[in-house]
Symmetry: C2
Subunit: 115 residues, 2 copies
């Protein structure tokens, strides 16, 4: 999807809590697909793993990031909460800032690589 | 050493080439210790692993980052080349830029965590 990522940025908040590109992409896909399992599939991730990440995010934050109904006749649905959209947007801005503020340094390192 | 890292930033240059905090710290310790094995020990890394990372960096870049003499009566010594110092410095500036340019977004995400 889109261009190959040029960097990975993962945030650490202590007590094992982290937020990075995997969770951000899962949130973005949940918003797009309306389903945790469909979002997980989009990342080649098991249903169980996708749910576990969502539960972890919902537990880490003061308010849940994802609002979901598990199972049921229509297989359940999911969407981001207001907090979920804010976190995803803040992380996206952060990545954009690294790209712009750090672009020159990244290019300087790249320029020294073997051609 | 110093404060707990609040984020991890790893750069990807394609063809399996990456540069991140592990290699940066290894370079910094090589500069401080004058020895690849001592630098590896400082990171709880085996001699073999530390050498392998140095060889990888030296192969990835157009000029070596580390200049070393392996073994010998004094156990060999190592120091950063000019290119090595430049790469380490550029990566350090990049981290500082994330910290400053991205500080507000990181704080915004952190503020939403469960207290």
């Amino acid at each position: 999807m889109a261009e190959e990522p040029r960097f990975l940025l993962r945030l650490y908040f202590g007590a094992g809590r982290q937020f990075g590109p995997g969770k951000a992409r899962l949130l973005a896909l949940i918003e797009a697909e309306g389903s945790i399992s469909a979002a997980g599939r989009g990342m080649g991730m098991s249903y169980k793993r996708a749910w576990s990440l969502v539960e972890q995010m919902n537990a880490d934050f003061a308010e849940p990031l994802v609002d979901s109904t598990r199972g049921g006749p229509r297989g359940g649905g999911a969407r981001l909460t207001g907090t979920g959209r804010e976190i995803l947007a803040a992380y996206g801005r952060l990545e954009a800032q690294v790209r712009s503020a750090g672009g020159a340094e990244i290019a300087a390192i790249e320029a020294r690589l073997k051609p």
